[in-house]
C-alpha cells in the first residue's frame, strides 16, 4: 500500500521532469524561447538539483542548513579545475563534464563529511547558524585560493597571488583568488542538466524509500524514539548530509561550466537562502515540489524583467504572501469553508 503510493509519486515526478524537458526542447527547436531563458536552462537544472538535495537535509532529515551554497561552491571550483586540467586527456566534452561533476561531488562530499562529523551533534537553530558559518568560511577560503597548471601538473597556493604559483611559461592560472575562474569552457548543456536532475531524483527518491531513508525520517520525527529502537543517529544524519553535499557539488560543477567566469562570492549566504526558499515553497519533504518551485522561481524573475526595477520587490512580496496564506490558520480554513458553503448551496 505504502510502497505503491511512493512508487506512484516517483513515477509522477519522473514524468513531470521528462515532459518539461521535452516541451522545452520543442520550444527551442521551434525558436519560441528567448535567448536569455535559453541560457538559463542549464542553471535551472543546477538549481533543481540544489533544491532536491537541500530537501534531503531540511525536509527528510529535518535539520535546517543555511550553507548549502558552500557545497555548490566546492563542487563548482573543483569541477572546473578537473575539467580544465583534463582538457587534453578526455577530449569528449560530455564525458569531461561527467568527470568534472564526479570530482565536484566527491570534493563536496568530503567537505560535507568533515563538517558533518563535529557539527551534526548540534541541533535546531544552532545547527543552522553553524552551517551558515561553514558556508561563509568556504566562500572566504575559496576567495584566497590560487590554482594554476603547467606541464608539471597542478600548482596550489593560498593567500598569496597568482605569481606565487611559479608557473612556467605557457602555464595557465585556473583559480585566481578573488577574481575566481575566467575562461571556463562551456561544457554544460540542457541535456546534461536534465540527466543530472534525473540522476538526483533517482538517488534521493530511492534512498527515501529504503531502510536508510526510513531511518533518516525517523530521526526527523523523533530522535529519542529512533535511538530507542537501535538507530544510530550520527551515521544516518551524516549519510543524509553527505549525500546532499555530494549532489550539491555535482550541481555546482554543472552550474559553473555554463558560464565563462565564476567567482566565489556568487555562492554566498543569499544563494543558500534562495535555495532554501525553493525547498520551503515546494513543500518540505516533497521532492517534486522542490523541482517545480526551483524551476518556476528561477524563470519568474526572468519573466518579470519587463518591470525590471520592481521584480525583486515583487518576488519578496510574493514570498511573504505565500508564506502567510499557506501557514495562517484563518487562510487555511478558507478552502474547507468554501467547500461547505458550496455543498450547502447545492443541497438547497
Amino acid at each position: 500500500m505504502n510502497l505503491q503510493k511512493s512508487t506512484l509519486n516517483a513515477v509522477f515526478t519522473y514524468t513531470l521532469v521528462v515532459v518539461a524537458f521535452v516541451v522545452a526542447q520543442g520550444l527551442i527547436k521551434s525558436g519560441n524561447i528567448s535567448s536569455t531563458l535559453r541560457g538559463q536552462l542549464a542553471p535551472i537544472c543546477a538549481y533543481i538539483v540544489m533544491a532536491v538535495s537541500l530537501n534531503l537535509t531540511v525536509g527528510i532529515l529535518g535539520e535546517l542548513s543555511l550553507g548549502h551554497a558552500g557545497f555548490m561552491s566546492v563542487g563548482a571550483f573543483s569541477g572546473v579545475v578537473a575539467c580544465v586540467s583534463l582538457a587534453n586527456v578526455i577530449p569528449l566534452e560530455p564525458l569531461r563534464l561527467v568527470v568534472g561533476m564526479l570530482v565536484g561531488a566527491s570534493c563536496a562530499s568530503a567537505v560535507g563529511f568533515f563538517i558533518g562529523i563535529p557539527v551534526l551533534r548540534l541541533g535546531g537553530d544552532y545547527l543552522a547558524i553553524v552551517t551558515l558559518a561553514c558556508g561563509e568560511i568556504i566562500k572566504n577560503l575559496v576567495t584566497c585560493m590560487y590554482v594554476g597548471m603547467d606541464s608539471h601538473g597542478l600548482h596550489f597556493s593560498f593567500l598569496t597571488s597568482a605569481s606565487a604559483l611559479q608557473l612556467e611559461k605557457g602555464g595557465k592560472v585556473i583559480i585566481n583568488g578573488p577574481m575566481g575562474i575566467a575562461g571556463i569552457p562551456k561544457l554544460s548543456t540542457f541535456t546534461m542538466g536534465f540527466m543530472l536532475v534525473m540522476f538526483t531524483l533517482f538517488i534521493v527518491m530511492n534512498l527515501v524509500n529504503s531502510r536508510a531513508g526510513r531511518a533518516i525520517m525517523a530521526l526527523r520525527d523523533n530522535r529519542i524514539a529512533a535511538e530507542s529502537v537501535g538507530i544510530p543517529v550520527t551515521k544516518y544524519k551524516l549519510m543524509a548530509f553527505v549525500t546532499s553535499a555530494a549532489l550539491a557539488g555535482a550541481a555546482g560543477a554543472l552550474y559553473a561550466m555554463n558560464f565563462s567566469t565564476v567567482v566565489a562570492t556568487k555562492f554566498n549566504f543569499n544563494t543558500s537562502i534562495l535555495i532554501l526558499v525553493y525547498v520551503v515553497l515546494g513543500g518540505l519533504g516533497n521532492i517534486w515540489g522542490s523541482v517545480v518551485a526551483a524551476a518556476v522561481l528561477t524563470v519568474l524573475p526572468e519573466m518579470l524583467r519587463g518591470f525590471n526595477d520592481y521584480r525583486m520587490l515583487v518576488y519578496a512580496v510574493v514570498l511573504i504572501i505565500v508564506m502567510i496564506v499557506t501557514n495562517n490558520a484563518r487562510f487555511k480554513a478558507i478552502p474547507t469553508r468554501l467547500k461547505k458553503r458550496l455543498r450547502g448551496a447545492s443541497n438547497v
Partner: protein, 288 residues
C-alpha cells in the same frame, strides 16, 4: 556480592522479588545494583536494587515524581547512571549507548507517546525491525534483488507483529493519525519488533478506558507467552498492576520502599502511606 534479594534498608518486607516458579533456577535477565543518578546535586534515584527473571512480568509503581521513568531512562541508557551497575543477561552495560543497549536486548515505550508521526504504521514497525533488515544504502538506492527480498520479508513480519494487537488493517495509515489507544499499542509493537529480551512499558494503559485496559492486560500476557521475554511496566492503574504483575517494586522519592508479590504490596503500610499520606493516630490524614 551481587546476590538476588539484596536487602535495602528501607524495605521492611522480605526483600526478595517474587520469582515465578518456572524461572527459579534461571539467572535473572536484568539486574540493577545499587543504581543511582544525580541531576546537578539533586538525587533523583538512589540505592536501586532490582532483578527481573527471564519471563517475568514485573511492575514498577510509586507516586508521581518517585523516579519510575528515571529508572527506565537509566535502563535504556537515555541517561548514564551516576552510581551502580545494570546487568543484562549477566553482562555489564556500562558505557553502552541507547542504540547499543537496544541491540543487546532492551526495548522501551514512552510515557508521552513517541511515534514517528509522519510515517505510516508499516514504516514505524519496519523501523523497529531496522537492525534485522540486512541491506546497505547502495543496494537500497540501486534496488538490488536483496532489497526486494528483505523488504518483502520485513513487510510480512510487520503484518505478523501487527496481528498480535489486531492492527493489520491500519498498516498504511499515518501513525500520527491513529487514535490514542492504537498509538500506544503501535509503540509496543515497534518495541517488540526490535527483538528484545526485556520490554519496558512506560504507562501502557494511560488514557485507556477500562475495557481497553482489560484487553491490554490480556495482550501483555500474550506477548510474554509468545515471545518468552521479561516485561517491566510502570503503571498507575492498580487493577492492571495487581492483575498481571508477578513481582512489584514500589518507589518513593527515588528510593525503593517495598518489593514483593502483589498481595504483600497491597497491605504494606509504607506503600499505603506513600500513596495516601501518613495515617495519624487520631485517624486523620495528613498532607504528604
Amino acid at each position: 556480592m551481587f546476590e538476588r534479594g539484596q536487602k535495602t534498608k528501607l524495605a521492611p518486607l522480605p526483600a526478595t522479588i517474587f520469582v515465578p516458579e518456572r524461572d527459579v533456577d534461571k539467572q535473572p535477565i536484568l539486574e540493577a545494583h545499587n543504581l543511582g543518578i544525580d541531576f546537578g546535586g539533586l538525587t533523583a534515584l538512589d540505592g536501586f536494587n532490582f532483578a527481573v527473571s527471564p519471563t517475568e512480568i514485573a511492575g514498577l509503581i510509586g507516586p508521581n515524581g518517585a523516579g519510575k521513568t528515571t529508572v527506565f531512562s537509566l535502563l535504556s541508557k537515555v541517561y548514564q547512571p551516576t552510581r551502580g551497575a545494570i546487568l543484562l543477561n549477566g553482562r555489564d552495560t556500562m558505557g553502552m549507548s541507547t542504540v547499543q543497549v537496544n541491540r543487546a536486548g532492551i526495548a522501551r515505550t514512552f510515557q508521552n507517546i513517541r511515534l514517528f508521526n509522519n510515517l505510516t504504521v508499516e514504516d514505524n514497525v519496519k523501523l523497529g525491525l531496522h537492525n534485522h533488515i540486512k541491506y546497505g544504502m547502495l543496494s537500497g538506492i540501486l534496488r538490488t534483488p536483496n532489497y526486494w527480498k528483505q523488504e518483502k520479508s520485513a513487510a510480512m513480519r510487520v503484518k505478523e507483529l501487527l496481528s498480535i494487537f489486531n492492527m493489520e488493517h491500519m498498516v498504511g495509515k499515518r501513525a500520527g493519525s491513529l487514535p490514542y489507544g492504537a498509538q500506544r499499542r503501535l509503540e509496543i509493537i515497534r518495541a517488540l519488533a526490535t527483538g528484545p529480551k526485556v520490554l519496558l512499558l512506560d504507562e501502557p494503559a494511560a488514557g485507556m478506558n477500562p475495557s481497553e485496559t482489560d484487553e491490554l492486560m490480556e495482550n501483555i500476557v500474550k506477548v510474554r507467552d509468545t515471545f518468552q521475554i521479561a516485561i517491566v511496566l510502570i503503571e498507575h492503574d492498580m487493577n492492571l498492576v495487581m492483575g498481571i504483575c508477578e513481582g512489584i517494586c514500589v518507589l518513593n522519592f527515588g528510593k525503593i520502599i517495598a518489593k514483593g508479590a502483589p498481595g504483600d504490596i497491597q497491605n504494606n503500610p509504607l506503600v499505603i502511606e506513600a500513596y495516601l499520606g501518613r495515617q495519624k493516630k487520631d485517624g486523620q490524614h495528613a498532607e504528604s
